[in-house]
Structures are given as C-alpha cells and as structure tokens.
Symmetry: C2
Subunit: 494 residues, 2 copies
C-alpha cells in the first residue's frame, strides 16, 4: 500500500534535477551554500554525519590494505612543476599562495590539486629496498581547484573537502597491475554499500590522468541523464618514479624504478547517494550510511485524557532502547510537534524506516513500520520490532540498490549496426546521449574521439570493463572512420 | 626489578630535549621532517594512528555537547579584515592566495589562521530566534600561520594539520560563561586521559586572544623547563556578534546580540604526550591512546630442535586472540627478527606492555610481562593473561600520570615575600624560570607585565585557576610597582 504524508512542500525532481538538488541540500541540511566564496560550501551537522559515515566505511575498506598518512597541503612550485605532463593537466586550475603576512614568498606555494608531487619526493626517501615494497598509503584531505566553470556543491568544487587519495609503489609492473585490480574490487564494494550503481571504463588515451599509463574510471548515472565520474584508478607505471627518482634495490642488489598506482574518490560519492536515491519528498538514504536508521514517532495528541500518552511514550522509549542495544542508529522524536511535521522532517532527511506507535497500536501490542523508499506500511508485533527492523533495513538497502541499478542498465543505449554513422543517425544518437549512455564502436584516435564528441555533444567515457574487469572483446568499425574499433561508452557528463 | 634491553642506541633526553625530540619523531615514525617546505611535516602511518586515537577521544568528548561541522578553508580578505582587533593579531601571520591558475584573484583569499571570520558570517544566517540557541559546533581542520620564528614539528607549524576549534553562541553572558566552565571541564578530562598534567591560567588582558573578553589557557610543562600552551578557551562576549551582526529574537520579540565563546586544541596535544612521557628508550604512551597497547613477542630460537617453537607460537597466538576479543589493541610480532630487535622497536614506539613467551614460560604455564614505563618484569599465569593485562594497563596509565603530575608540581616555584623585587632577587627568579614556573604577585598593567618579562626573560602566563575554576584569591604587592596585585605564573614558553 502506498500512502503519502504532507505533500504541501514536496520537491520537484522529474525534469528539474538542478533545482531539486540545490533545494534538498538546504532542506535536508547537508550543505549551506551561503558562504561568500565561489565553489566552497559549509557542511551542516547532519550533512557532516552523513559524510562521516560514508568515509568511515571507506576507511574501513582502505585500512585492510593501506596505511593512512597525512601529507602537507602546500606544494612548492618547483616540485609541482617537475612532472611536465602532469602540470600541464593542472596549471590552469592551481591556486597559488604568493604572500606570507606582508612578505612576498620566494617560491610560490600551490594548494594541492592532488598530491602526487607532495608525496612522491617523500616516497623517494621512504623506499630503499625491495623490503619496503609494496608501499600502500592513503589520505583523506582537502584539495583545491580553481574552477572557472559553473561550480556545484559536492560535484564541482574549488575546495574538495574530502578527497580520499591512495598512492602505491611496487617492485614491478605486474604487481602494480594487480594493485589496480585490488583497487577496483575495493571501489566496487564501497559503491555497492552506498547502493550507487556504476559503469567502469578505461578512459581514452587522450583523456587519461596527466602522467598515467592509463586511467580507469567509475561513473554513475545521474537522474538528469548525465554521467558523473565518482572514482578513478590510475596505473602510473614508472613515469613519476623517473621524475622523482624513486628507486629500490632489488634482490640482486641493483637499483630499479618502482611501478606506481594511485586512485581517488571525492565527496562526489555523497552527491551520488543524494542524487540517485532521492525523490520529491527528500533524501532516501541507504541504511548502511544513514545517520539515523530508524526514527520512532509517538502518535499522541497531548491534552486529551484518553490519549494514553504515558503508555505510548513508554512503549516508544522501550523500542528505542532495544534498537540502540542492538546497534541500530535510532532516534526517538518525542518533541512537541505534530506527527505530520515529524514525518515531513525525517522523510526529508532520508531516514530509511519510521516506526509509529499510537494508543490503538498499543492495544494490539503492535507498531507500524513505514519504509522511506516506497512508503509501504506494515503492522509489526512490538516484541518482533528489533528483528523486523533489521530485516526491513536489509530489504530497503537492497531494494534501493535494485531500483538504481535498473535505472542505469535501462539507460545504456546500444547502437545497432557498425558502419560509419550517417548524419541522421548522429542526430538520433545525440538525442539518446541526452538520456543516458550510448554504446558504440570507436577507434583509438583522438581525432575520431573529438569528432564524435562534437557530433553528440557528449564525452567519450571509454571502453567498458565488465565483471571480472575484462575489457569488452567485441570488435566493430569506428563510427567516424570505419577503421577497426572497440566498444566505447559515450555520455554527457558532469 | 628493573632490567634493561638493548641500550646500544638510546636517545639522549636529559639536557638535550630538542635533539631527543627530533630524533624520536623520526625513530618512532611519528613525523617525517624531510618535506621541502619550512614548518610543515609528513605524518607517518604510526604517527597518524596515534593522532587518530587522540582525536577520536577528543571527538567523543566533544560530540556529547557539540555538533561537528566543516567550514571552508579560504576566507575572503574583506571578511577576515572585518574584526579590527582580531586581524591586528593575525595580519603578520596570514598566508594569502592571490592567484588562480594564471589569473590574479579580485579578492585575495586567506588560508584560515583560525575560523572565527569564516564561521560567524554563517552563524548570522543560522541564528534567528532564541530557539536556535545555544548553538555549539566544532570542526577539526588544517589551519595556517606564516611563522617567521624557528618552526618545530607539532609545536610551531606553518600548517597545523589538526586544529580542533569549537564555536558557541548563547542568549546571554551568563550562558556563555557557563559554557566556558563546560569547556574547561571537557579539556580537563581530555588531558587527564592523555596523562598530560596542566595548569590553567587566565591570560593577562594585554595578551588575550584578539577580540576576546578574556582568555583562559591550559599550559603543560615540557622536560626542558618551558611551558607549552596546549589549549585555550575564549569568552568572546558580544564583540564578534556586533562585528558580524549576529542577533536573535528573544522571547519578547526584540533583537539581541548573541554572546559567544570559542576554544581550541591543536596537535600540540600530541607533542605533549610524546615529550612529557618519553624517555631515553623512546616513546612511553598512555595505554588509552597507544596504537598498540600490548605487543606479544615469542621467544624462540629457530632451528634448534628443542626450541619448542611450535608450542610457543601457538601460545602467543592464543593470547593474542584473547586480547583482541577483550577489545585490547594487541600486536603479535612473529617476524623473523631477534627478540632484542623487537624489544628495541616496540620500546621506541612506546607500547605500554610487552608479553614474552618462551619454552621455559610454557613449561610453567606462564608468560612474562614487561612494563614500558618502568621496565618492571613479572611472571603471570597464562590463564590470567587478559585480566592481568587490563589491570596492568590501568596501572601504567595512572602511574605515568602520577609521575608527570609530580614533575609539574615540583617545578612551580613560589616567590617568598611580597615586596618589590631587588636586582638580586630578579636574577634568582630568572634562574628559577629556566627550570619551571615562577609564582609571584604582579599588577594588571601591561607595563609591569612587560617589565617583568624582560627581567626574567620569560612570559607572564596569567592568574592561576584552581580546582573548581576559582581564581586565586590571595593578594599581595606587585613585584615591579608594589601596588595591589594578584598571583600570576611566569615561565619560559614554547
């Protein structure tokens, strides 16, 4: 049964994603956008709790195979400039500190846009012998980009407040490639827990991370049909090792360059959780990362003698205690507000499950569960509350996941045929790219890639990787030049 | 019984505190100082674990009465400049971002030296009515100071990586003053858990936080006789509220300025733990915050048939499992190194308790405990290992505390007499100030304060607060001008 609560102030989502997104950040108290610097925002307490749960999850996964460290935020210009290709990718985007007090600095300091050039000079002194390898560290830090395009909270920022970046060094290429697989598996698990579906592609050579041998990326599909990059994994090979002179002594006593990887996730993971699951009533949070998993609302009408207020409040408190004891993040909302106002608030904040207990429920020794994801209502015997909560939260977790995954899969549009595209077909594909991902054959050349991007007003994401991280084996003809080509995904992107 | 392990490479501490400090940061792998920017350092994994345990403790305390938030790092120049007194205190110390990419910024952006001017413009929009008060938030962030003096890891930094700053707003002065007391109690509990002893003083008016009504400070005594400020609490009153126009509507419907407080703790708390407890063998960590609380070392001599290696390793693994199950952070060091090398490493890293198990111990169904703080050795029956570990860790925790507290108290030198100081006496007091804290009478005037500081080559910390946060009531005559004066503490400081 589908019921609705206060609809007076529902958010528009269908077709108005941008307004919905900004509005929900405010109403659910995730971020305050009223800070007087472009592209930087304030985390509200509730938003910060959500962020922390998501990053605690990420830390738990990372800690199994990496050690957490913390490197300085300021990078001297000469270090940043060492890796030529790398800096070319960032030079337009770097914030520069040029003054300390009233003194001009001798060497300008960059606010880290990412930390390769801060970390690798130190790797050089940390790594001496093969016994120091593999070296696998990560940090969660603020990074900075001088974005000149339209900025957007959590998505396109001048201060990325929560960049998780991992950096690893290995004895040889095979070990580094193995690490790439470990990173993919780790990111899969992480996004699965957030119920965020993804595609993994190998970015075209002409669009990889500056300095990398190749770049793999996780993209998710946003409600407006654009994809958003939510994670990247780079095989660096020896390029940075050569620039920063990172060598180790192998078994035989000779010096070798290390092979490196790096991979990162930013607060776009929070943006994805908000955007993909939310609806016109507000957030819909996966139980795994919801600051409150269950809210309990006593249904009492104060002042009426027959209201049974005392018993109801006692029963609510008992359920609350039981849930807390069972390790569930519960909240008892026993404030003076009307129940409807409470429903509105906690639906807006995405609490996965609401338990209502009123006098009538008590007479039946039961309570009522209302799921946030589909507003389904069921009566549950009070003594079954805890196990039923657990079961329901699991159900919500997987049901949200299923829904999101379906939406992604349904919006991958495969091009039929493998000839060069006609003008009409290009126009049709362009339309499709407005509502999801287009899958077609494209050759390696940057020229064909750029050409296609222009035709479709969309970006080439790259070759899809399937389960078990295998590259798509199918071959066809490039839609532009008809030469031999591999399958790629194309989409409008954030 | 006091025994010693490998003494080949002990650290000098007595009389060589600085060298000892730098050396231990390296050898215990707390911070790497080889980063190519002055005054910023790299947290090693082990150091970062220690930092995290200390800050997790702090968070737990803070979360009871505050909500965690996160404000941007960049502060526009016009906001930073609004509070005249405040900026005067910082203008020589602010790093300025003046360029984005290759573009000169319209308004220079400061790297936050502290966040009053980032947070209070947002408080203005968050606070509307008395129902929004009290507002109590905190954040743990990196802050920046352009230090021109000698920098020192964890103590005097250009990037403070872990500044915990709390900011509160209240309906009236009484509530704000009450919050000051709450903050003192909270900081007391926190430093007690770190076994870091402290004195609390009210800083002289001429040395308070820029913009505050008054400043209270926690100082601890470092092994070289200097005090180090490890926490500050500021009653701001209405000064910032007036500057940033932070008002609320009271019960009667009229607009009132809020009353504010703010208080902070930086990674100097980590510096204090390291410096105060450490000895010539390395760190001595309080069990509460030690990344590893117990290390288990199997005493086996591989290759010898009669070594009983298998049984020993099995017994060690069993003890390890039991400790982990009991929630104790244990580490089983079953690497191939000699036991002596292991002792050396874990003593250096400050692990509070070592358990050794060898074939002889096994024959007696026992193991050997070695405490890090005093190297005491005792035999413990294997089946008592877990409860005995718990008991011992508590003992270590309080014994470290007692030792540190004693050292502090013993080094507070009270001046006898209350007349104006003679030249000879000043010289004597100056000597005392080289080895701790001098307690004497001094009037309020900045002139006498500065005069005394010059005579003693030391700083006036301020009036001591005793238990229950009462000001010292005793009165005497100012050592400089003989006018009525209150007791103050004076010391050389970090």
């Amino acid at each position: 049964m589908q019921t609705k609560t206060e609809s007076k102030t529902t958010l528009p989502k269908e077709g108005h994603f941008s307004e919905w997104y900004n509005e929900i950040l405010k109403r659910a108290e995730i971020l305050d956008i009223r800070y007087p610097v472009k592209g930087v925002y304030v985390w509200y307490p509730y938003g910060f709790k959500l962020r922390n749960l998501i990053y605690t999850t990420l830390r738990t996964f990372m800690d199994k195979e990496h050690e957490e460290v913390l490197f300085p935020m300021l990078i001297p210009k000469d270090e940043l400039m060492k890796e030529e290709e790398h800096i070319k990718g960032f030079e337009e985007e770097v914030f520069w500190v040029t003054k300390g007090g009233t003194t001009e600095l001798d060497i300008p300091l960059a606010l880290r846009p990412t930390s390769e050039t801060a970390i690798y000079p130190v790797f050089k002194v940390w790594i001496r012998s093969h016994r120091d390898l593999p070296l696998r560290v990560y940090q969660i830090v603020n990074t900075f980009r001088y974005e000149t395009k339209h900025t957007r909270p959590l998505i396109r920022l001048r201060e990325i407040t929560s960049f998780k970046e991992a950096h690893t060094a290995h004895a040889n290429l095979a070990d580094a490639e193995e690490q790439v697989k470990i990173a993919i598996a780790l990111y899969r698990k992480f996004f699965d827990l957030l119920d965020v579906p993804y595609i993994i592609t190998r970015r075209p050579d002409w669009d990889k991370f500056p300095g990398a041998a190749y770049t793999l990326a996780f993209d998710t599909l946003m409600p407006d049909g654009r994809t958003m990059q939510i994670g990247t994994i780079h095989l660096l090979g020896e390029s940075f090792a050569r620039t920063f002179d990172i060598k180790y002594e192998d078994n035989a006593g000779s010096l070798q360059y290390v092979n490196q990887t790096c991979y990162g996730i930013s607060e776009r993971c929070v943006a994805a959780v908000i955007s993909i699951h939310g609806d016109e009533h507000g957030l819909v949070l996966p139980p795994e990362v919801s600051p409150i998993q269950v809210v309990i609302v006593p249904i009492v009408f104060s002042g009426k003698a027959e209201s049974g207020e005392g018993e109801v409040k006692k029963a609510c408190a008992a359920v609350y205690e039981d849930l807390e004891t069972a390790g569930i993040r519960a909240f008892l909302d026993d404030s003076e507000e009307r129940p409807g106002a409470k429903y509105y608030r906690w639906e807006m904040k995405g609490v996965p499950l609401r338990i209502e207990i009123g006098p009538r429920d008590l007479r039946n020794n039961s309570c009522e569960f209302v799921r946030r994801d589909n507003f389904q209502r069921v009566h549950v015997p009070l003594h079954d509350a805890v196990p039923e909560v657990k079961r329901t939260l699991e159900e919500v977790q997987s049901s949200i996941h299923g829904r999101a995954k379906e939406a992604l899969v349904a919006n991958i549009h495969e091009r039929v045929g493998s000839d060069a595209g006609t003008v009409e077909e290009m126009r049709a594909l362009k339309n499709k790219a407005e509502h999801g991902i287009v899958s077609l054959f494209l050759c390696d050349s940057a020229r064909c890639g750029k050409d296609l991007e222009e035709h479709l007003d969309a970006s080439v994401l790259g070759e899809p990787l399937h389960e078990a991280e295998m590259r798509d084996k199918s071959e066809g003809k490039c839609i532009i030049c008809s030469r031999k080509a591999r399958r790629v995904y194309v989409a409008r992107t954030y």
